[in-house]
């Protein structure tokens, strides 16, 4: 069977690759959106935190023998704690200033983190084995579905919708949304906004680290894995508009799929298709697909 002059298996496997990339875009742009919402800071260090997540998993396995499942918990907690420290020590001093300074500070931070890892582990990637329980694959008839890849998509989507549920449907989420709208009044109502902000940054960063652990067996674990991905995620954010949580999830997934399809039809264009989409969207809707103004 052929679609677009392409065997179905090829098309389907590229779609899957796209869906996986899309899952990473979605988790990362979701974290960026949450941090932006409450802190008004574009976290340029997001890619570095994602990379740290992957490295924590790799170090945990090779140095301490901690399994993938352990890393899936440990990495977000450790990197999240690192994020909390960053927010307390550095970012806190910038809230009164133009938010460009937040972008610049986190950019400097990304350089530091990346430099340290490059010094310690070199630029070449380390490989991370797929955990035993998820090795192998499922034959679907028209294609062979590697179990781990299916797991990545499911895990990413679960985390995304869990986050959406928490923000839109729970009391904590209500505080968060109120804090974004009007921090002074929320503070006056007796809610500790500074703690809320710290935890938000920690959570956003933990999401990036979680994506990093998911990515470790799929890509090579390397110090530059985050900075290359981050710029695509920025484009995703511009396209989506950062207005809504659901917006960043859908835009992330959708662009991953578009990228995967481009790889089938015109391989040379796959690295720039996201940016081309960005240009088109900017022409038609400068505020982004889900943006409000």
């Amino acid at each position: 069977m052929e679609i677009l002059g392409m065997p179905t298996a090829v098309l389907a496997s590229q779609l899957l690759v796209g869906l996986i990339n899309g899952s990473f875009y979605a988790v990362l742009s979701l974290g960026l959106a949450i941090i932006f919402g409450l802190l008004n800071i574009i976290n340029f260090a997001h890619g570095a935190m994602y990379m740290m997540g992957a490295f924590v998993a790799w170090i945990a396995l090779t140095k301490f023998g901690i399994s993938y499942w352990g890393a899936l918990v440990i990495a977000p907690v450790l990197v999240g704690a690192f994020g909390v420290a960053i927010e307390r020590i550095l970012l806190r001093r910038l809230y009164k200033l133009d938010h460009l300074y937040g972008l610049l500070l986190t950019f400097g931070l990304a350089l530091i983190v990346e430099g340290v890892f490059r010094d310690q582990f070199g630029i070449s990637g380390q490989s991370y084995e797929v955990p035993e329980a998820l090795a192998g694959g499922i034959p679907l008839g028209f294609m062979f579905l590697p179990t781990y890849r299916a797991w990545v998509v499911v895990a990413a989507l679960t985390v995304c919708f869990g986050t959406w549920f928490m923000i839109e449907k729970t009391k904590l989420g209500a505080y968060l949304r109120a804090g974004t709208e009007n921090p002074q009044i929320v503070q006056a109502l007796g809610i500790n906004v500074p703690v809320l902000i710290t935890l938000t940054y920690g959570f956003g960063v933990a999401l990036a680290a979680f994506a990093g652990v998911l990515a470790a067996p799929v890509f090579q674990v390397s110090p530059v894995m985050g900075s290359n991905l981050l710029i695509v995620v920025f484009a995703v954010v511009v396209i989506g508009g950062m207005g809504s949580i659901l917006g960043s999830i859908f835009t992330g997934l959708g662009l991953g799929v578009i990228e995967g399809l481009t790889k089938v039809v015109y391989p040379e264009g796959s690295s720039i298709v996201v940016f081309v989409v960005m240009v088109i969207v900017l022409f038609i809707r400068p505020a982004g697909l889900f943006g409000r103004s």
Partner: protein
């Protein structure tokens, strides 16, 4: 005050290559011009472009191709690079100035990354190897630029021209409107100014000057490389400007001199720590030294009552 400083610096620039290694000076001047062009946007309109590497790099490649493959004279090489960067700047500008602040930064960054991938994939640019073997040629077909001294004075002339353009732009009625937009965009709009058009013109000027710096740099080093188009370069120019002093006349030059010195002193000694040190300087600048070196110095002078 500024005029006297300008005169002293001008004379210093004329005699400097007799005391300091000319290639180093040329590098400082090229990056200084690049940073001045960038500062025109961030310092005077408040637009943070994170994609200026695209202008530096593309212009370098265009100049390289014109020199090596078409065989034009150096001044035409620089002009063609500058025009190419200006055109690219217009394209970027039309798209990016529809949004402000953080979005503007992200859009310029993404557009520049698109340019990076194009440069990487187009066969004519030499891909990972960069565009090599660019001849320096003869200026106006007469003066041989293969001597470093001759090259230096061309670079110096280009820098002075670019610096003059920035200076003129800032101190013109046009520059006043730019500052008004930075201070209060809504009011500038209500006064009847077509804010988008002013921003676009400033963006094109800045891009063209950044391109002029890139084309000149290609002539000096006789190659155009991917490093110049990579987004790290866009970050570096932000660092130079921030470190020297945002919105000051001399700040970008001071910043580029410092960053170039640091990099050439450190690169073979500390390896990957260069990026750590640069990052640390970034963080320190943002936290404690937001006015930059020149800005802090000016504030100090004001406090002791000199000016």
């Amino acid at each position: 005050m500024t005029r006297a400083t300008l005169a002293i610096l001008f004379v210093f620039g004329l005699v400097a290559p007799f005391a300091i290694y000319p290639t180093f000076l040329m590098k400082v001047l090229c990056f200084g011009l690049f940073a001045c062009a960038f500062n025109l946007l961030l310092g005077f309109i408040g637009l943070l472009s994170f994609g200026h590497a695209a202008f530096l790099g593309v212009s370098g490649y265009v100049c390289g191709m014109m020199m090596r493959d078409v065989g034009v004279t150096p001044e035409l090489g620089i002009i063609s690079g500058t025009l190419a960067a200006g055109l690219l700047g217009w394209l970027f500008g039309v798209l990016a100035i529809r949004r402000t602040g953080i979005y503007f930064a992200m859009i310029t960054l993404a557009l520049a990354q698109m340019v990076f991938f194009l440069v990487l994939q187009v066969r004519a640019t030499g891909g990972e190897d960069g565009f090599q073997g660019v001849p320096r040629g003869h200026l106006l077909g007469v003066i041989d630029l293969s001597s470093n001294m001759a090259m230096y004075y061309l670079v110096y002339a280009v820098f002075c021209f670019g610096f003059f353009v920035v200076h003129r732009t800032i101190h013109s009625p046009f520059g006043q409107i730019l500052k008004a937009i930075r201070e209060n965009e809504a009011r500038a709009i209500s006064l009847g100014y077509d804010v988008s058009r002013f921003k676009l013109v400033a963006f094109v000027i800045s891009a063209a000057l950044a391109g002029m710096a890139g084309a000149t740099k290609t002539l000096v080093f006789q190659l155009a490389s991917l490093t110049d188009v990579h987004w790290h370069m866009s970050g570096e120019v932000v660092l130079m400007t921030l470190l020297g002093g945002l919105g000051t006349i001399f700040g970008p030059l001071v910043g580029s001199a410092l960053v170039v010195t640091l990099e050439s002193e450190l690169s073979d000694k500390v390896g990957s720590w260069v990026s750590v040190i640069m990052g640390a300087i970034f963080v320190l600048c943002v936290l404690t030294l937001r006015r930059g070196i020149v800005g802090e110095f000016k504030a100090l002078l004001k406090r002791v009552g000199v000016s």
